[in-house]
Structures are given as structure tokens and as C-alpha cells.
């Protein structure tokens, strides 16, 4: 099998007149986890949205293996999962219904049992019959993250995945990420939490003034 690879070249992005990203170059190979640090409003979420094909690429190019994210969004989306600030869940559906819906729309093949297993792993088994509207912040986050377990993506995009999770939830997530890494997946993550990322094998990057630079030390500020 070929090594999976994500290659972003000279990405630039502006909102109105404001240049948020300039000449961003990012290259991540199989099993690697790139962590984006940067101040509030520095453009981390914007970069992730670009990689997730949510925003239209304005400048530069980005490919995941042979797939050009810019021109071939549909194929690209088949191989990536993005868990962002929002949980993308339907409040009136139960956890299981949410995952079933996700599975069908992403055309995954996982059976019902594996969905239930994912929910159990996330610690939500007692709530499997309840509409998720009244879930606590952390419970929603766990369910959003449980989607990683049912699709088998090549690329995982995480925007502040640790927020709202408790201690045990963080361990669970780090476990998932590690497994994903050993299976040759690619991860790009935005975070403000060097302490939590520390447990992972990762490459830190720093985004400042729209420019992305690799960071020497694993402990930034």
C-alpha cells in the first residue's frame, strides 16, 4: 500500500479584505499528527475548514494522496472526517439515530452493532434512547467524536477536540488518536492545550499573522 500523504501548498485565504492565511505550506504523512497552535483569531479553524473542503480554496493547492481537495471535493469528503466547534448533531434524534444517519450519508458499511459499540465506548450507553438535545456539553462532544470510530477515514481534522471532555474522555480520545495513527491515518488538529496533546506523538506548528511555521519545542506559548 502507498503511504497516505496530505500536501498543502501556498494556501492563502481572505475574508472580505482581511487576509487570514498567507502562503501556508503543510505536509503531513501517514501516522503523523500535526497540531496547530496560535492565538485566538489566528486562522486555525479557517485552515481546518479549508482542508475539510468547507470553504472554497482561494489560493494554493491541496491534495490528499491523488485527490485534489479543490476540484474533487466529493471524493475528498469520502476520506475525511471533521469534528469542529459544533457537534453537527440533530437534537431531536437519539445517539443511535444520529450515528445511523451519519453512516448512511457517509455511505459507510458498519453495522448497527458497531454503532452501538461506538456509543458504548463513548460512555453513552445509558443514554442511547434519549434525544441528544439535553445532553451535557461533554456528552455531545463524545458522541461527535464517536463518529471517528464508525467511518474509516484517511484524514482526521479536529478543532479543539479536548474542550468539554473530562479526564477520562481525554484518555479515551487520545487512545483513539493513537490507534488511528498506528493504522496510518493522518491527523490535523487545532488546540490551545499543549498539556493534553503532550501524550501524543505529534508535530507542533504555530500560526501567527497568517503564516504557519513549524515549532521547535513541543511546548509552545
Amino acid at each position: 500500500m502507498d503511504m497516505t500523504q496530505l500536501e498543502a501548498v501556498n494556501i492563502g485565504h481572505r475574508f472580505g479584505q482581511r487576509m487570514v492565511l498567507r502562503d501556508v505550506n503543510l505536509s503531513v504523512t501517514a501516522g503523523e499528527c500535526a497540531v496547530l497552535y496560535g492565538a485566538n483569531g489566528s486562522g486555525k479553524s479557517t485552515l481546518l475548514s479549508l482542508l475539510a473542503t468547507r470553504l472554497r480554496m482561494q489560493q494554493g493547492q491541496c491534495r490528499l494522496d491523488q485527490i485534489n481537495l479543490h476540484t474533487d471535493g466529493e471524493t475528498a469528503r469520502r476520506h475525511l472526517i471533521f469534528v469542529g466547534h459544533h457537534s453537527h448533531l440533530y437534537g431531536h434524534l437519539t445517539p443511535l439515530e444520529n450515528l445511523l444517519f451519519f453512516r448512511d450519508l457517509h455511505q459507510c458499511t458498519s453495522g448497527r452493532e458497531s454503532l452501538i459499540a461506538a456509543i458504548t465506548q463513548a460512555g453513552l450507553a445509558p443514554f442511547i434512547q434519549q434525544p441528544i438535545r439535553w445532553f451535557s456539553a461533554g456528552m455531545k462532544k463524545r458522541l461527535a467524536l464517536a463518529r471517528i470510530l464508525i467511518a474509516k477515514p484517511k484524514l482526521l481534522l479536529l478543532d479543539e477536540p479536548y474542550s468539554a471532555l473530562d479526564h477520562e474522555g481525554i484518555r479515551w480520545l487520545n487512545g483513539i488518536i493513537e490507534t488511528f495513527q498506528t493504522q496510518g491515518g493522518i491527523i490535523v488538529m487545532a488546540s490551545h492545550d499543549p498539556e493534553r496533546v503532550a501524550a501524543l506523538r505529534h508535530t507542533p506548528w504555530h500560526l501567527n499573522g497568517g503564516v504557519l511555521r513549524p515549532m521547535g519545542s513541543p511546548h509552545p506559548c
Binding site: S49, A52, T53, R54, L55, R56, E74, T75, R77, R78, F82, G84, H85, H86, S87, H88, L89, Y90, G91, H92, L93, E97, F101, F102, D104, L105, H106, Q107, R133, K140
Partner: protein
């Protein structure tokens, strides 16, 4: 992909329909609209027959309009619409999922609405019911296509309903006029056909072929 379209329609409408009373609310809303028209215009015997096409079409219009607000409502919470756009489905499929769900619901309402209107306004044109239904269905196909498109367009705008209705009504006016005229012809001559029907078909064809494409453009960022 057909499965995904079906799933989308299912989530929006059928699941809702299964344990909730969306359908009966829409039906009784349309009865209430009839009541309002009666209270406002008080048509007498002869007038009533002449007004039936107008009554049916305006009622269907308002009912559809009310239903459309619902189309993207469940997508708002937790940024679920963004989640939909992150699936590997082509935008057209998302459009048709939404369209189908709404159409099915409207169709069911119309099947009940026509006999009710004839009873309430005491008009004896029972033999024309299949033709009336066919005409309304034809009209609703175009109307719903336009409506879903505009609901998506104005989704992020504030004063969504107003704006939606504002944009929808002028575009829909030609369709509505063609529908009213074609229906008047059916009631007067008992035959389905003629230039107004052709006009209706042409509008349907235009809206249904352009709308998915427009939808794709709109949701792209």
C-alpha cells in the same frame, strides 16, 4: 446515493411523521386558511365556484410556505447543516432529499384538502378531483423546488421567513397564475390541457432543472 436521498427525506419528514403530528398540523392549518378566507371574503354560491381554483392554490401556497420554514430548522442547532455539507454527497442529492421530503408531505395534505374545500364551499365538481389533484401536484413540484432553494439561500440571513417569502412570491406568481387558469379551464370545460398547462409544465421544468444547480452554488463558501 438514492439511499442517501431517501435517508435525508426520511429524517426531515417521515421520521417526524411517524411519531409527531406534522402532517395533521399542516392539514388543519390549511383548513384554518380556508376559514380565514371565508371569514374575510364571504363568497356566495356562484362566486364560490369561480373562487375555488384561487382558494386551492393560495391555500397550497401558504401551506407550503409554512412547511418550508421547517426544512432547515433542524439543521440549525449544533451546526448540523454544515455536517450535511461535509458528507461525500453531491449538493444536488442534498437538494433532492430536502425536496422529496417536502413534496411527499404537501402531496398528502393536498389529497385531503381538495375534498374538504369542495365540501366547505359547497361546490359540486367531484368528478374533476383527479385532474385538480394532478394540477396541484404539478404546481407543487415547481413550488417546492423553488422554496427549498430559497430556504437555503436565506438560511443564514436574518429575517429568514420574510426574505424567503419575499423572494419566493414574485417568482412563484407566474406559476400560480398558470395553475389557476389551467384549473379554471378544467372546472369549466372538464378537460386538462391547453396553453396554461404547457406553461405550468415549462415552469416546472425550468425550476426543477435549475434549482439543484443553484443550490450547489449557494451552499458553497
Amino acid at each position: 446515493m438514492l439511499k442517501a436521498i431517501y435517508r435525508l427525506a426520511w429524517k426531515d419528514v417521515l421520521a417526524d411523521f411517524r411519531h409527531r403530528s406534522t402532517f395533521s398540523s399542516m392539514l388543519f392549518f390549511s383548513v384554518a386558511v380556508l376559514l380565514v378566507f371565508q371569514a374575510a371574503f364571504e363568497p356566495n354560491g356562484q362566486e364560490a365556484q369561480r373562487l375555488v381554483p384561487g382558494l386551492l392554490w393560495t391555500t397550497v401556497l401558504f401551506t407550503t410556505l409554512m412547511g418550508l420554514g421547517r426544512v432547515f430548522q433542524s439543521e440549525e442547532e449544533n451546526g448540523a447543516f454544515e455536517g450535511l455539507l461535509l458528507t461525500p454527497l453531491p449538493r444536488g442529492a442534498i437538494f433532492f432529499g430536502k425536496w422529496l421530503g417536502n413534496l411527499v408531505l404537501s402531496l398528502m395534505v393536498m389529497i385531503m384538502l381538495i375534498p374538504l374545500t369542495l365540501i366547505l364551499f359547497n361546490v359540486n365538481i367531484w368528478i374533476h378531483i383527479p385532474m385538480l389533484l394532478a394540477l396541484l401536484l404539478l404546481g407543487t413540484m415547481g413550488l417546492t423546488a423553488l422554496g427549498v432553494l430559497l430556504a437555503a439561500m436565506t438560511q443564514t440571513a436574518r429575517s429568514r421567513e420574510t426574505l424567503l417569502a419575499l423572494l419566493l412570491l414574485p417568482l412563484v406568481a407566474p406559476l400560480l397564475i398558470a395553475g389557476v387558469q389551467a384549473m379554471t379551464e378544467v372546472i369549466n370545460t372538464g378537460t386538462l390541457g391547453g396553453p396554461w398547462l404547457n406553461l405550468l409544465l415549462i415552469f416546472d421544468a425550468i425550476y426543477l432543472s435549475l434549482a439543484p444547480w443553484g443550490f450547489g452554488w449557494l451552499v458553497e463558501e
